[in-house]
């Protein structure tokens, strides 16, 4: 039997080796995709095998190498990271299935490179999830930025190159300029960067420094896309849809908010932050991001762009949860990671399916498309409900806890912001399936559109549909079967 520490290392090793197997089998697509799937499944099983330990209250960990005196590359699995790793590795399996349908159906080029960097990205995400101290987290954070860049700039066109520049500039820029700065500052103040329950900063420095540090962390974690550092996310939408789905709705962006939560809980300490009350203006920053990006989303006609701004908005829910610095906020933020992951990946899967099957990207062209793609549009409708936060979908729980946390913090304005945002969600998300089912086809159909009025069903390839159905079912399951997640996250907030 291998030790838990080894299992953690295997979780990094498997996608790493897998990526090179993908490279080696690049000339034979079927074998290559088998490799991707095998790697994804193995990874999920490995991650899942750690779960019972963490659920039982253990914190398995391992020190790999001492980088600088007193500073190691180390891993330690705690509940929040466990949840994140489970979600990311689980959804990778189905994104891989989806990718097979999408990439072939859409005749993408450089598929081997695509699968290669995809696997490396997953390794980085797992590294972030399991990091035992801030420096390890930062390292994998940067790896994730760098290895998703080739995926964003996948098409190599002028547009995607420009988007790649924005992507890299903002993510690398904020992380070096603010986050690294904050990390070194923390090290100077405390002499440690280990994630410690209750935080490491309490009682070490004055409140002003803590306030500045907190801001440096929150804005320095550019992957959390708090305005005004959100532009990279819409820019990243030039990537192939599976990338947008898994990375820019789950792995990358969730790595961002995950880091915010982790820093709040394990570097600052919830109680400490609550005592000195320095996070209030960041709550408003998050609330403004929530509302503004919802408003921007309403103006976008491109489906993926609209979903991107919706993601920006939803990410700030997590940031808001963290900045409320009370138990319910943290719980809500943690849950939002899971709930939003399943719902948003479904939406992106659907967007990709529409692109592959009907070659449409603009919402205004999608009138009546629901009749030819009923399955896709139904899934889109259900996932939208989860994003909005209606039962019986998982999203209801995270919204509930977040609102509860805001109430407990005595911030009625924030509760109102959450409610208004949900209303905006209703408008900009539900209008899409409505247009699909009840709208009329555009007068001048696009050059590639099929006759839609004959009622013939024309859905995306089967692998795409499998993935869509799994993630949609996931949204419902997470509503009725929340206990494991709840119990896991509860461990964080219990004293």
């Amino acid at each position: 039997m291998i030790s838990p520490g080894m299992t953690i290392l295997l979780c990094l090793f498997v996608p790493f080796v897998g990526s090179f197997l993908i490279l080696a089998t690049g000339s034979r697509p079927n074998l290559r995709e088998t490799m991707t799937l095998l790697t994804a499944i193995t990874l999920f099983l490995l991650v899942a095998s750690i779960y019972p330990l963490v659920a039982a209250g253990e914190r398995p960990g391992i020190d790999v190498v001492e980088m600088l005196p007193g500073l190691s590359i180390a891993f330690k699995v705690e509940p929040l990271g466990m949840a994140f790793a489970l979600i990311a590795s689980f959804l990778w399996i189905f994104t891989s299935i989806y990718s097979i349908g999408y990439m072939r159906g859409h005749h993408e080029e450089n598929q081997t490179r695509f699968y290669f960097y995809f696997a490396i990205s997953l390794m980085a995400a797992i590294g972030i999830a399991f990091a035992g101290n801030m420096i390890t987290l930062f390292i994998f954070y940067e790896v994730l930025t760098l290895c998703t860049f080739p995926l964003v700039a996948h098409h190599g066109t002028e547009e995607s190159k420009r988007a790649g520049r924005v992507y890299l500039g903002l993510l690398l820029g904020t992380s070096i300029a603010f986050q690294l700065f904050a990390i070194i500052w923390t090290w100077v103040i405390t002499g440690t960067l280990d994630f410690t329950k209750g935080g490491i900063l309490a009682g070490t420095t004055d409140n002003l420094t803590v306030a500045i540090l907190l801001a440096l962390y929150v804005f320095g974690i550019g992957k959390a896309a708090v305005m005004p550092f959100h532009r990279w996310l819409p820019a990243a939408m030039v990537a192939p849809t599976p990338v947008s789905a898994l990375l820019h709705a789950v792995a990358v962006v969730k790595a961002g908010v995950f880091t915010v939560l982790k820093v709040t809980v394990y570097i600052f300490g919830v109680n400490f932050l609550a005592d000195i009350n320095v996070s209030e203006w960041l709550q408003y920053a998050a609330a403004i991001t929530i509302l503004l990006s919802s408003l921007v989303a309403m103006t976008k006609d491109n489906l993926k762009a609209r979903l991107a701004y919706s993601t920006v908005s939803q990410l700030s829910y997590c940031v808001l949860g963290a900045m409320l610095v009370n138990s319910w906020g943290i719980l809500g933020g943690g849950m939002q990671i899971a709930m939003h992951a399943f719902a948003k990946i479904t939406l992106f899967f659907c967007a990709g399916a529409i692109l592959v099957a009907a070659h449409k990207t603009e919402i205004s062209d999608m009138g009546g498309l629901g009749k030819t793609m009923p399955f896709t549009f139904t899934a889109f409708f259900l996932a939208s409900l989860s994003i909005i936060g209606l039962p019986p979908f998982g999203g209801a729980w995270s919204k509930f806890y977040l609102a509860y946390g805001a109430l407990e913090a005595g911030q009625l304005a924030l509760v109102a912001a959450l409610m208004i945002s949900s209303l905006l969600n209703v408008y900009y998300l539900l209008s899409i399936p409505f247009r699909g089912f009840f709208g009329r086809p555009p007068e001048t159909p696009g050059h590639y559109s099929r006759p839609q009025s004959d009622g013939e069903i024309h859905e995306a390839p089967i692998p795409c549909l499998i993935a869509i159905s799994v993630s949609t079912v996931g949204c419902v399951v997470l509503f009725f079967y929340t206990d494991p997640l709840y119990n896991l996250l509860k461990q964080i907030i219990l004293p």
């Binding site: 600088l68 590359i73 420096i135 930062f138 520049r165 690398l172 070194i184 090290w187």
Partner: protein
């Protein structure tokens, strides 16, 4: 028996070997001979480092004339570290040199290259090992004169003007240095560093010594290309043969930084020179201007060699910045960056050499499709480019970490912000190359895939892997740098 004479052998072997290359004349034999010599010096340097680590500072009286009357060779941790860097780079460059030189230097002059190369190596090693200020001047001139020749060997005729310019500036620098030495000798009657350090407090406040300090700092500032005394550097690096650029970029300015440290912290170790408010501020200011000006200008270059040359000016700024903190953390950052930058810049220029040999150009716009045509070379360029930026898991990160740490330690957070800001500029100039190489399709009719020969790839990847290895496990290098820094500041004896 022979072990006791290692400090002398360290310098004498390349010195004696150099004229032999002149006699050998046949380029392949000269190459094999020089390869052997450089590897010998590297072995000696490693042994010396181990010895110093175990037994402490080694003092070797040249010709058994005891100090302070004779010339003393003194190997402490810092000198041993620099010796390892210089001889290490010197020996890694050798296998790479053969094919690159054949391509870039006319056939009849190749043996001259090896002669001068060994002389230059001898001079640089001498600077690092000697404990005598005048002897340091001699080696400074040995290394400088040979490097003028090395630069002038470049095929491009502009190499001649570049070498001439360097000759003028370098001579001014060396002259200033020797004037400073003369003034010190006038007041103390000694040339031995340790002896000078003892005598200095008695005469420190005299005008003569104050003038000496000014001459020494400016003289060495010229050699280490501290902004605004850097004007010789870009052209010299751009037009010299690539191998020469690799060697000089990785060692010459670093050794000058070493000499600077020696003078300030050993010779003037007992008197506050930099500690005077104005001096640190001034040095810090120059360092920061260098960091930004160098990086800004680098962004606008079209020639990669030139771009990397300007980046060197910025990187030298980091080293000087580290020195200007006058704290253990700051000096550690400066010293570790000597090593880190040598490795990274060496590998980057090696990549440029590989690109030149296959694509015949070092201009960024001609690099289209290089990512597909030369994947092995470009992968190394990307990794080392990240090292230049200071991305974690590369050596650059370790340097930045210590420099920012030192700045925050002193409460100088605007300086820390400046360090961060200038590394963002590095992102831009590195990225310009990567983008063209990977995301612009190769021009029609270009060869699909052709890599540089193995003898060039192997040394490049050796340095690249070193830059990753010492970025992941930096405890060893950091220990050396930290101890050396503490020793210089007399925190420990």
């Amino acid at each position: 028996m022979i072990q006791a004479h290692l400090p002398a052998l360290q310098v004498i072997i390349p010195l004696i070997a150099a004229p032999f290359c002149l006699l050998i004349r046949r380029s392949d034999l000269a190459w094999a001979f020089s390869l052997l010599v450089t590897w010998c010096t590297f072995a000696i340097a490693l042994i010396l480092l181990l010895q110093v680590n175990e037994t402490g500072t080694i003092s070797y009286p040249m010709g058994d004339w005891s100090a302070p009357y004779g010339i003393e060779y003194k190997v402490d941790l810092l000198s041993a570290f620099v010796l390892v860097i210089v001889s290490g780079i010197g020996s890694v460059v050798m296998p790479y040199a053969r094919l690159s030189i054949e391509r870039e230097i006319p056939w009849p002059r190749i043996y001259l290259f090896y002669t001068m190369y060994l002389l230059c190596l001898c001079g640089l090693l001498g600077i690092a090992i000697t404990g005598d200020v005048f002897n340091l001047f001699v080696f400074l001139e040995v290394s400088s004169l040979s490097s003028y020749v090395l630069i002038a060997l470049g095929k491009d005729r502009r190499a001649l003007t570049a070498a001439f310019r360097y000759l003028i500036m370098g001579t001014i620098g060396a002259t200033f240095y020797v004037i400073g030495v003369g003034l010190m000798y006038m007041m103390t009657g000694s040339l031995n560093m340790a002896d000078l350090a003892k005598l200095m407090p008695l005469v420190a406040e005299t005008r003569t010594i104050q003038a000496a300090i000014a001459f020494l700092i400016i003289g060495l500032g010229l050699k280490l290309a501290l902004f605004p005394l850097h004007l010789w550097l870009p052209n010299a690096y751009t037009y010299a043969p690539t191998v020469v650029t690799i060697f000089l970029a990785a060692t010459a300015t670093k050794v000058a930084v070493y000499a600077f440290l020696r003078i300030i912290f050993t010779v003037f170790g007992n008197v506050p020179v930099l500690q005077k408010e104005f001096m640190t501020d001034f040095l810090m200011f120059l360092a920061i201007v260098a960091m930004f000006a160098g990086s800004f200008v680098a962004i606008y270059q079209t020639n990669i060699k030139r771009m990397l040359a300007y980046s060197s000016i910025a990187q030298i700024g980091y080293m000087v910045l580290g020195i200007s903190f006058i704290s253990v953390a700051g000096l550690t950052g400066g010293i570790i960056h000597i090593f880190n930058h040598a490795v990274v810049k060496g590998a980057l220029f090696m990549a440029v050499g590989c690109i030149f040999i296959k694509m015949g150009s070092v201009y960024i716009e001609d690099l289209a499709g290089a990512g597909k045509r030369m994947p092995v070379t470009m992968a190394s360029f990307v990794i080392c480019g990240l090292g230049l930026i200071g991305v974690p898991l590369t050596v650059g990160f370790i340097s930045k970490w210590y420099l920012i740490l030192a700045a925050l330690d002193k409460g100088l957070w605007p300086i820390a912000a400046a360090i961060v800001g200038s590394s963002l500029l590095a992102v831009i100039y590195v990225w310009r190359v990567i983008e063209v190489a990977y995301f612009q399709p190769a021009p029609e009719g270009a060869e699909t895939r052709s890599e540089a020969p193995m003898t060039m790839l192997a040394p490049m990847w050796f340095l690249t892997l070193a830059s990753v290895y010492f970025g992941v496990d930096a405890t060893r290098t950091i220990n050396i740098a930290e101890t050396a820094a503490a020793y210089l500041l007399k925190v420990i004896q």
